[in-house]
Symmetry: C2
Subunit: 142 residues, 2 copies
Amino acid sequence: MLSIGTLAKRTGTKVQTIRYYEQIGLMPEPGRTDGGQRRYGDVELDRLSFIRHSRQLGFSLGAIRELLDLSDSPERSCAQVDAVAQKQLREVEVRIARLVALRVELRRMIGECSADRVADCRILEVLRDHQECLSDHGQADA
Amino acid sequence: MLSIGTLAKRTGTKVQTIRYYEQIGLMPEPGRTDGGQRRYGDVELDRLSFIRHSRQLGFSLGAIRELLDLSDSPERSCAQVDAVAQKQLREVEVRIARLVALRVELRRMIGECSADRVADCRILEVLRDHQECLSDHGQADA
DNA sequence: CATACGACCTACAGCGACTGTAGGTTCAAG
DNA sequence: CTTGAACCTACAGTCGCTGTAGGTCGTATG
């Protein structure tokens, strides 16, 4: 039986984060000692490892919830699992594309500035005037 | 004199976002009509354009505040402006590297799964077992 | 067996950067 | 003068945690 602190260490999670996952129903309510402290077993350890690893791969908690639900029906087709993963991949690809476009602009901006004074700084000029950009770089994140 | 809605349209910002920027002191408190509605001039239009464009390039509101402060002292050296932009570039590069590593894992994971049933799904297996990953992909974001 | 102290408990506020809602007021066109 | 779109304030919600305050529990040591 593991305390929440031990579970946290084993999975590289903060204690508060585990309690947060319990609060939003992503982790089950565990057993308690007589004094009211949480005690976990291997099932919970595995579940939390799954969650953390999925988070590291960028899956949202919503997507993770879906994956956990799916993995509870081992006889079903795994097409839905595939769809979730594909969607995540596409999102990662979109973000990479956006960031690469940003990198281009930032590099160009920095490279062009050889001024001494703020008044002549190309970086600030570019930021002032969107026209000077090559791409439209809609949103930075998402 | 522009209403907040017109300013919003011109800069591709939501009205609430402009009010939010005012609230956190990034935009100045504008003049008002007798009825209490905000009215903006070209100075505010330029400032908001600067903010929005910087946001699109991924600068945080904190960094933007710094850049706006710097651009108010036109005689100063622009080394600090450069430093802010360089920092942003480095952050973008780190994020790209992370996302590219994620893309590798996601593609591999998806490519390996040719199962029909959830029970044999490679995607879920990989998510369960971190060992199966090549990189350490620490944090998804940041 | 008593004590100390680190780990645990709950409840709630805060982060960044917005976005949305409710309920009321103002402006400008017809 | 009326209508209705646009404006106003104030506050709650988003996501995924993280931090704090103030109190309780469990266990190793003396």
